[in-house]
Symmetry: D3
Subunit: 333 residues, 6 copies
């Protein structure tokens, strides 16, 4: 019997989509993306989707504008090809960072992207660890919001965390940090920093909470240049912290930033494959677990009309098993 749903991949979603299909036990459906010499993108669905439930895998990651534009064309193509329902699997939604008018006369970019994705034809979106939970409200369509936290925590347990403290790099992430602390039964400390506008070079002011003599488990939703993390790590070292691990949902480091991380007191970063980042595929300091099984599990539940909500708080064993890399999580730094 033919499957009632099909999974397609956008230009940067192919590796993730293949892991997703492996878990689901179905083949990845064929499609084509061309980037012409003058800069235009073109998408083509290469098998019928008439009456089918379609999932498109594409994050807005390191090529956010290309990926966003392409998403719009995919949505339109699926709708015009008579797909029954189109779900965007967008593990990382880069423009979600633009979620407010923190300065006069700027755009609320997350809302703009959300509205255009809806307009182009998306019936649903599944994403992960948005910069703020309010962004779900930028979508009128159903936007399911998965959490990498349980999976990251389970991975962190492999590192041995007998004497560790969870550290939030700023007050804004303190609430989420407490979630990690509760899951791992660890205390929490907070770095209070001052960030100037769009300057990524934030200055750490203070570390609140007891950290001396402990291992630190820094948690955050994403890093771009790694600057905040390195400053925090240096501050923690000065306070007598021993090992420094970092858990991140999304990693946007480029080659240069990665080098800085490698030369910093950070012992290792565990993150996810929520976006395709070529620089960290073979890094010794950044290790990735896959959230594709988590999204696959969500798809299975959707297709069987079961609730997603329990996935937000714990990881089913089969998901955990499929998420870890083949080789154990070891950092040879």
């Amino acid at each position: 019997m033919e499957h009632q749903y099909k999974v397609f991949a956008g230009s940067s979603g192919k590796p993730f989509a293949k892991r997703l299909c492996d878990y689901l036990g179905i083949p990845l459906s064929p499609s084509q993306v061309i980037r012409f010499s003058e800069g235009n993108s073109y998408v083509k669905i290469e098998e019928t989707v008439r009456g089918k439930d379609v999932f498109l895998v594409q994050s807005m990651g390191l090529q956010a504008n290309d990926e966003f534009t392409e998403i719009l064309f995919w949505m339109d193509a699926f709708k015009r090809a008579s797909a029954k329902r189109v779900t965007l699997i967008m593990p990382y939604f880069s423009y979600a960072k633009g979620d407010k008018k923190d300065e006069p006369r700027v755009s609320i970019r997350g809302r703009v992207c959300a509205e255009c994705i809806e307009l182009a034809g998306a019936d649903r979106v599944i994403t992960m660890d948005l910069h703020s939970p309010q962004i779900q409200g930028f979508f009128k369509i159903n936007a399911d919001h998965l959490k990498a936290m349980p999976l990251l925590c389970e991975s962190a347990k492999i590192l041995g965390l007998d004497n560790a403290v969870v550290v939030s790099p700023d007050a804004g992430f303190a609430k989420e940090a407490r979630g990690f602390g509760t899951y791992l039964d660890l205390p929490v400390a907070i770095g209070v920093k001052k960030r100037d506008g769009h300057d990524e070079q934030a200055r750490i002011l203070e570390i609140i909470g007891h950290v001396q003599g402990k291992d630190a488990l820094i948690v955050d939703d994403f890093t771009i240049s790694g600057g905040t993390l390195i400053h925090l790590a240096q501050g923690l070292k000065e306070k007598g912290v021993k090992k420094i691990w970092v858990l991140l949902s999304h990693v946007l480091l480029n080659e240069e930033s990665l080098k800085k991380i490698e030369n910093s007191p950070i012992d290792g970063i565990i993150s996810t494959d929520s976006l395709y980042n070529p620089y960290i595929q073979n890094s010794s300091v950044v290790k990735l677990i896959s959230v594709a099984p988590l999204f696959a599990e969500a798809i299975l539940r959707m297709e069987n009309d079961r609730s997603l909500s329990e996935l937000f708080h714990h990881v089913p064993p089969q998901v955990l098993k499929a998420s870890l890399p083949d080789k154990l999580l070891t950092f040879n730094k």
Copy 2:
């Protein structure tokens, strides 16, 4: 008295916008575009637009996805900053080429872009020489559609065209070619080619009409690789054509393609500054006239509630004067 309208420029629209403001006799209003290291674009309006009539200059050109995404953010920013009316000045609309489902399961990309621009807040669009006139109907908002033809023809007259024939590179442009012929009082010939899908390497089959011993004035809306033009030029040479000039609305040639043109039988190309193309700024074979005065004249008429329609058929003298480059149009090939 303060002007009731303001002109802003997107990331690739600054040179055009400056020429526009020169014609209008107003300063270009300040704005800021940042492209962050992880790929996100950010726009900021740097003076109040509350209650103002705003014009944003940005083509979708060689960075179409970045420019499109940025346009959406500009529109949203202007609206949220309480601009009275927002007009997008988009001299080249790259995705207008995606205007039909010529294959199964593709997107009608021009419609997608048009709808998103509307949704983001544009009240009006002014563009030029769309790939097909139907695209105006993809917009629900007012989309004014200027024509470079009269200006290109006036520029061509400088070359001396006593014994010339207008040549359309294919049947699809034959109707427009006749427009050039009528304006210049010249006969028309048609190249009948066969183009395979998205393969720019089209093969010329035949040249219909008398060309022998004449100069040829090839006309087309745009070129990407120049392949079609070069093949046509070679074919015309074989038929005994003498000089070969080309008039194009939009030039998307890159460095490599430009070199091929220089080594071809083409004596010179006259085009416009409808998009910013760094490769042709100092070319000996491609000369640009500016359509900024034409758009500026359109703005003046709009602001004074006068009709635009006469601009479609002839060029006012002050526009022609301002459009020509400082140095005469000479091709030293």
Copy 3:
């Protein structure tokens, strides 16, 4: 078992709908249309459609305004009667001709009609041979676009075409004419005419390509007065053409125009039943094949979630067989 879909007919769609239902092997569902003495139209669905997939057959043909208005009422009635999905079968979409602003201050009528049909409740439209392919982009909903070309070509083969040439009446139809030529393996010629605004009395300027001593197969999407065809036919005769056949997707001739055709050098016209035209039901010079089996086949594929795209390029044998009239295509002129 009850069928999951039902077919209804608008006031001018009954004959077509009956042919459609014959092919599908289902009865035409009952409905009522009243045109009151003061000019109002009223529609009523006469059996339950709750939860059903509904198809309404109605072209915009010779009573375009009545048929358009009625379509809107049908869509609304189906939606308010809780139909699951409503598909408009509109073999001829008359206002698609109004697809651009070729003059200042006119309406883009095709877009207006498309939007209203969507607003009134249509979930999908299936139409045939639109005046330009861009019109598909005027619809936001799924608009499938069938082609009569393969069917017309198969019918033309019956006429015997050993020494024929396909002739396009103008440059605008040249691309489509080549499609006919390729299908029939025949050369192509082009009439280059000048049409003035809305004046149907276009003047033929020239015939490009070799036609002397051949039979001509003129192809076009529609004719209203037949004027262009007759002028072309006269021109072809002067050039030494023998037999002159015409293939048209849609025929809008009235009684007077039909008489002119009969008195012209045209030997016969093959067209389709895409709209109901009372004047040509028993014509000796215009013969109709039915495209109802083609639409029926499209419905069958839709209902079984199969792709429509292969129908665009060739005719399944069972469709061809059902499309031809009972009596062979003979012209006793």
Copy 4:
């Protein structure tokens, strides 16, 4: 100084629009409507409307489908021609009669028309004496609703009404009839009839209230065939009524129905020019007063941002004067 607003007329609105412009003291702006031989309508605005406040005069009257379709094209054309605001002057809205689902599986036609008019671009509608006041709520845009009652009453006074009774032809119009009675200080009677479905041949059951020996002033919003009125008149005659006058907002009688009225006991009908009805232009039994001055007065108030509401209850003297026909209202029956 140029007027800031312009008045245009649709195909059936020209006589009304001229009367409107006479009152306003401005010329009627030029426009063109073509009805092609194949049934399509085409509209063209023949002077610039950029930035102007535009009024289009067109009722949905005896050619409701043509007039409705044309209205949509006008709205679109005005919007695409950059009119600042477009107001539809629609003195009679025929499809307002389709205001409910009084049978299963029918359309609510008034809502469909209202929505399409909005979609096509109307910013406001001014209409008169809708079949039910709820229809104003079918519009999301501003729909001003004028009343002919005061004007009709003032005209009726000329007839001499010393011993008259206002008669409503059915219970549904009883509330409005009381309004006429209050304005004229006359008693009210009600005919209770039974109407079967769409059968205009309604049977009068009973006349409630004292009518014997009086003159009757029958009031209603519209008549199509006159059947109800004639039956009522016959019933009133049987009850000993002397003169029988009728006041109607809208008259849709055709030639045949008019003859029946002339042969009935009805002494005279006073109605308005809310729609163009060629059959009653020179009738001896139907006399028209013009509501164009009333609409003109509404426009003047709108343009000066004054309230319309007082127009609902009494007629300004200058309006009354301009509304009456040149010759006195005399019925030579």
Copy 5:
């Protein structure tokens, strides 16, 4: 097998929803409504609805603003929880009374509520006895409109109506009153009253029709203060009427008004449980029959894609049986 549809109750819909579920033989699904101390309402669905057909029971009754706001939140919550289709069961729609602009500068409140309910996510609404049938047209979504009349008439038969007359309290309800008369084969009389604006204290002017020596069965859609009914009852008594019964679709009486009814000539009121009114649960003068079985029957037909229309004209026996209260309808006044 799990049911494909689920029924939920809003804060004031629980008793009705339980009766509905009893008839359907399914459990009422769990949900939670909190009204916080500062006035905010909060709703929570307490079991998965992913992919389910959901019915929410909530009238806009005596707490119309709270109930309306809550409905919006329910609709949004169901949509965001991925329900397949959401139907609002709203037996009484209080703001339907605000259906026209009968004064200048007021809101058409019924349209506002209808639009917001749609926007918030309702796919369908089922309601009963709207104040005017046009209100169905305020909804763009499918709005089914049930009638209590057959059920009320069947209940009235129990009272014994050998020598009764149906009385409409005003001209506006005369058409509906005739429906009751036809169903019960009884004559009809009409009270002609004058109501001033929003003053519930309407004055009865006259009673039209023969009532002397008969029992009266007053019918109306709703009562708020009972004032109109009491005045009418007093008038009827003066005219020699014997017993006075009242049939009402919706009862909004409060404690004080109920007392006035008890002290009036009215012998008994039969109404429905269309809204939750705590004051009449144990009244000796107002007896309620349940319309929950009628709505349940409508749901069953919808789920089986059967027509609802026959429910509008007669009551299926199983519905009638389930609708009557356990104790016979006796009034011990």
Copy 6:
């Protein structure tokens, strides 16, 4: 000359609107709100607004559902009365608290309210101190967002703050608390509390930062029961804090809660009149400054097309002067 804008007040906005009008030097425009005995709300604008710029003052405060529903009716009434532009002045937006799906199967109530307000006709909203800045993105229309912070800080200076520390009651408000600290040049401390679901009785866990021997200036956006504030105050006292002052944007305390505050270690609360709270009009412990002058100043700038952004960071002297109560801010506790 007549003013081009008019200010109206909703049922709970009258005192605020009067202060606004005093600052603006214009009269409050007349309007009427009726709450009928059966619970329906009704609004009426009592002077013409045709062509006017209209401001409606109404918070969603202690009767949020009534106030929200009424806002929708006002917006609709203004639009249907032809107001040129309608701005909602909503100093407190209660449902902004419902800004995310922090539990499965709940509504994002802030988005629902924002969308309905837009749908009903609001062109702009001006509000103050939303619960999270992302909520601005729930509006598609222009939503200006004022800040009470500078005004509250200026008021606090009157208290004497030589040796004070700003205290945030939780991590979530830490970023804003730093803003107060920077404005007042004071250090900041943070209370880290644990809040369970919707239980307002949050437990304070810890106070981070140096507070001993200092006065505390607690800052927060709103309080409902005062529970968090009292617990924090008790904790601060235990840590050796001297005076305890509180700055709040919005106060929702009821009588009982106010009493608890009076009996707590809190010396005084300074808040604003952003919503009408009858319980605190004459409180000895809660003192209100008016933000009406701030909103009035925003209106003046809007009407003169000047930027609002500078109002976010400092208070113009004339605003400060008008905001303070007549009697000095003294707490006689």
